[in-house]
Structure formats: C-alpha cells, structure tokens
Symmetry: C2
Subunit: 342 residues, 2 copies
DNA sequence: GGACGTCGTGAGAACGCTCTCACGACCGGA
DNA sequence: TCCGGTCGTGAGAGCGTTCTCACGACGTCC
C-alpha cells in the first residue's frame, strides 16, 4: 500500500491537508482558528477534518507550545477520607465549573504516602500539567517541597504550614472560629468545649487557635478537659464528643471544627441524653450541605467556597500566563450562619 | 551567548549528553535502562543527570512511543456525590495501590453534564491517556458512546446499561441482593421492603432485580408499597425509609441497596421508634467501613473490591499491551456479612 | 504605472525524544 | 591469519505539531 489515508493510528495534520488540498500550515491555522485563512480554505479544511475525524495530537502540540492546557488538583492525603469530606467535593465542583468554559482540563491526583507523592511530583515535573493546586496538606507532606523545587505554577488551598512562601488561598479559619466561640459565649454558655480538627493540618490548627483566642479574650481560661481532637470525619466527631462528655459532663456548648464532625457530635450528645441546643449548644464549621439538613439544622461558619475556588484558579492562571511563580496570598472572610443548633 | 547549559527551560537529553561526553542515544539508553551500555558511560550519564536535575520530557517521549503511561479513572457523574460514596473511595484506593509499583500514573477525571463529558472525551482522544476506566455510569451518559468510537482501551466498572459490548468488571449485584433478601425471608420476616438505588444505574437496577427475584421465588408477591427509591446517599436512605414507614407501617425487614443508605434508614427507623433488628431487620450492600462501625453494626453484602480493581487494571493493561479492544466481562461473587442488624 | 502594504499561503525548521542502522573494536574458532 | 559474532556507540531519521519566513497576488496611493 502506498501512503493511504487509512492507517492504523489517528489521522494527522498532513493527511487532512492532503484531502483538503492545502498545506499543513493552513490546516493548523484553521484548527487553531487563526483569522488569516480564506473562507474557501477554511471550509475545505473543516470538511476534511470532519470526514477524517481528525483530532490534534496533544503530545506533538505540547512539545512545541510547551503548554498542556491541563491543571492538576492534587490531594495530598494519606487516607482516602478526603473524598468523603464535603469540603473537598465543593472545591472540585467549584474548580471544574470555573474551568468549564475555558480550554483547560482538570485532573485529580491522589497521593497516599511518600512513594506516591514522589510519583505525582514526577508526573507534574515531566510536563503533564501547566500548574497545580495542592489541597488538604498535612505537615509531613513532601509535595510542597518537591514542587517548590520546580518552576511549575503552584497554588495551595490553605496557608502553608511551615511558613514557606507559596501562593495560597485560604479562609479566615481563625476568625471564623473566634466568631463561633464568641457566639456560644454570648449565649451565656459557661463551659464551651471544642472538637478540633487534625493538628497537623492548617485548618485544624487555626480553628483551634481561634477557639482559644476567643475563650481567653472573654476572660475565661482554656480548660484541657474541654478539648478533644477529631479528624474531620463524622465518626471522629462522635468519638471526640463522647470523650468530652466523660471528661467534662458539665459542658454546655461545643465548637466543632467541621460539619461532618458536628453531625457526629450531635449524635453522641443525643446518645448521652443531652438536648441540642437546650442542654448543649453546637456550632460547626464549613456550612456543608449536611449542616442545613441535619437535625437540628446546624449553626455553622460558612466559607465563601465559590470565591475561594475562583481565586485559586485566578492565581494559578496568572502564574501560567506570566511564567512566573507568585507568592500572593488571599484570605477570605467567613460568616456565621445561624440555624437551630446554637 | 552560545548554546550554554543554563537555558530558561529544563535541560534536554542533548545537554546531558554533552556534559557526560556521550551521544544523545547513549543517554536515552541509560535513562530507559537498556542493558547495552558500558558501566563507565552509565556512570557518567547518571552523574550528568544528577547535576542537571534532568527530567525527561514526557511529551517528546510520548510523541514517539505513542504511550503516555497514564490511565484515567473517569467518574461520569452529574453531581459530586460520588465522592462521598465510600465505594468510590475504595476503588480509587484499590487502583492506585495496584498501580503503585508500576510505571503507570492514575488521573481522576470528573464529569458533570454533557459539556464536561465531551471535554473529557476530547481529553482522552487527544492522547493524554493510554486507557480509561469508566465508573458510576448512568443511563444517559455520553462517555461510553464517545469513547467507544475511539480505539482507546476501555474498561467499565459495572455492566454497561445498554448491552453494548465493552469490557467490564462487576460484582454479582443481583446475586448479592437475592442472598440478602433471602436471609431476611429466612429469618421469618413476612413484610420485606427495599430501598433501591437510582434506577438509571446498573447497581441500582440489579440490586432491585435481585430483591424482586428473591421475593417472587419465595412465593410472595412484590408489593409496590414496600419499595422506595434512594440515591445511594445517607440522606436519601433516610428519606426513602421514612416514606416506606408511612406507606407500610407493618414492614418488618428492609433490604437497602447501599450501606450509606442503610445508615440513613436505621436513623429513620429509630426516629420512628422501631428497634433494629428486633422490629425491623436491615441488610445493606457494599460492606463499606461504616457498616462495621454503625450502631447496630450492619449486616451487608460484601463485594471483593480488591479483586475487582485488580481485574479492571488487568483487563485494561491487556488491551493496552495488545493494542486491541477486548469485550471481556468479569463478574465477581459477593458474600453476605452477618452482623447485628439482621 | 510604479512603489508599497496587506493578505493568504506554503516550505521548512524547530520541539525533545526514541530507535534503527551502521560502524569500529574486540573476541573466539578455524 | 582470517572470518564471523557480539558489544558499545553515534549518526540520523522520524514522531505530529507550531511558527517564522518568504513569496506571489492583490489592492491603494501618489
């Protein structure tokens, strides 16, 4: 056979050009819709593209343009529980909505353990993506280190734990926690406990710091018996609440550092015969969907997720556009959402 | 400046070759560890790679090898609830564990709506991935269609809804549902209800079919009042159970088509003052982590997830290896896990 | 009617890699 | 001594794009 059109692989630019009776360059122009093409040529090419079912080869294109038009959202999480966190789902939804009418593709990469994190680091460095958004960081994560060593545009979801200079977008976790705790205090509650998030994550740390600050500012003292650690899961919240109840049966309010944990806490409270909010007032964090539908509906701290995802994309796109790493930080205000639990 | 080593971008093979004093071909051989390299050359190259921090450009490599060494797991789901489904998390965990010690990378793609599905289809067709695993399919999904039109290796998680010939791996959903329902019947329960999954998903359909089959086989009749539709979420399970209770207050058992829904159902039951399993026996499906920890621990149907993910990878890899689409189907046996809820 | 833009087009050189092929160097067997 | 084989190596041709240039064919303006 001579060089027929029907080869094993997909059709190439050359084949389209041949069929359309123009040069490779013209086909390329049509495909990337450059204005400098005559209507006739354009039509001919479009027809050829159609009949050959031509799809440009991205590898070849990326090789010369040095762009892949895809960005990665990497979840640097050792266990798969992130997936069950509604916060994460919201971020993914927000990101892909934001990217929907751009040329950009979004890929999710999940990393558990050092080995996989290195694999992901390699993946990113090899030029598969134009930039990465890193979320759900723990203090022992390697990825910020690995990626900081490259020129890859990078944005963190959440303030970097070690003070490293990397662009990031975060909610004012501390401020939100202060507001939540102060609400509880202003309600006349005297024994305000807290279920914290993981203390190796910035959201866990900051929300705990906010709680402490509010308690101290009110003239109270921070009682260790009123503090229990959770892990942002419902089951963890239930466990922590049970523990709290046994250590401080007289508590009359609790600030829970995430809504899924708050749901678990309410269950534990109920199991112990306490009424919410009559006996114990509860405030959560995140304003997840579950907060509105749980029983009772949860008073919680809302983060402007839409704004945050939009900012992340903006920061990343700026870096990609300019070719320069930025270290811009954006912290978004939170707001208290009053419902029935406090 | 002449062609110095320090350019703006990353170092290339040529630069490494120059530094090591060998040819490009030799460097390539070392990088892909071909045996035909003398120890001295190998050492020199490795040193050069080290000092230049050389990372091969995947685009260039893929362009010639026609492989990307990455496979995609695509979630063709219109709402982001998949993420909260523990089944999904298990699949992701299983897949990446299975791929951990291979060269293969795993990327997750999430598609909501026709527009994004087309975008993902394009992404896949453009040569970003060597193969795709499709999960969580609904009947109106475009992706099987879009991808079936390509030569891309493809494996479905779950039997294709429209009988199309595509390789797939599935659990014996029908068999599992039959076993669950028969257990309930064998316990002497006379009014066995069901909370189904979405009826546009094969797991929802098959588990419902299994329930019907078991009821009919036992000589009973399928009572519409005993059937309510859920959506595989906890909230949906709660809603459906509440509905069931109002339509058929005399029910004494319920087969719930997923564990998260079963957890919701138990809550609804409890809210209505029914004891589990004394008043109403409950069987779930999936053997999710939550099944063991919920109160009471759930009797449920376990799927061999590890086996299933291994099979998906195997089927996909076979296709990639051979360059041929296969239509092989593998259905894995389920097993009943007896706990306290039935 | 000649000089000068603009406009559509094609030739051809990249991009960074892999892979075939040829070529010397070396070895063992006749 | 010569021949055939292996072994390490390098030259060079691709892979399918984009993009810079150069080049004719037009106007348009003096």
């Amino acid at each position: 056979m001579t060089s027929t059109g029907t080869r094993n692989g997909s059709p190439t630019l050359d084949e389209v050009a041949q069929l359309a009776g123009v040069s490779r360059a013209t086909v390329s122009r049509v495909v990337n819709d450059s204005p400098r093409v005559s209507p006739e040529a354009r039509l001919a090419v479009q027809a050829a593209v159609e009949t050959l079912r031509y799809v440009p080869n991205r590898m070849a294109r990326s090789l010369v343009t040095r762009r892949t038009d895809t960005i990665a959202l990497v979840l640097s999480e050792s266990n798969t529980q992130v997936f069950s966190d509604p916060f994460f789902a919201s971020i993914v939804r927000g990101l892909s909505a934001r990217l929907a009418d751009t040329e950009l593709n979004l890929v999710l990469l999940a990393a558990r353990g050092a080995r996989e994190q290195e694999k992901i680091g390699r993946y990113a460095r090899q030029g598969h993506v134009d930039g990465v958004i890193l979320m759900s960081l723990h203090s022992d994560d390697l990825l910020p280190d690995i990626l900081a060593g490259t020129h890859l545009p990078l944005v963190l979801s959440g303030r970097p734990l070690d003070g490293r200079s990397i662009a990031y977008v975060d909610a004012d976790n501390t401020g939100g926690a202060v507001a939540a705790t102060e609400l509880l205090l202003s309600l006349g509650r005297r024994r305000v406990a807290t279920v914290t998030g993981p203390q190796d994550m910035v959201a866990g740390l900051d929300r705990y710091a906010g709680y402490r600050a509010a308690v101290e500012r009110s003239g109270g003292r921070v009682d260790p018996d009123l503090i229990a650690a959770g892990d942002f899961t419902e089951a963890g919240g239930m466990r922590a609440m049970t523990e709290l109840l046994s250590r401080a049966p007289d508590l009359d309010a609790v600030f829970v550092a995430s809504d899924p944990m708050a749901v678990g806490a309410v269950q534990a409270l109920r199991a112990a015969g306490r009424r919410v909010p009559d006996d114990v007032a509860v405030v959560g964090f995140d304003d997840a969907a579950v907060a509105a539908t749980s029983d009772p509906p949860l008073t919680t701290v809302a983060q402007p997720l839409g704004e945050m995802t939009a900012l992340m994309v903006e920061l990343l796109l700026d870096q990609i556009e300019s070719g320069e790493r930025s270290v811009e930080a954006r912290v978004c205000d939170t707001s208290l959402v009053r419902r029935a639990s406090a």
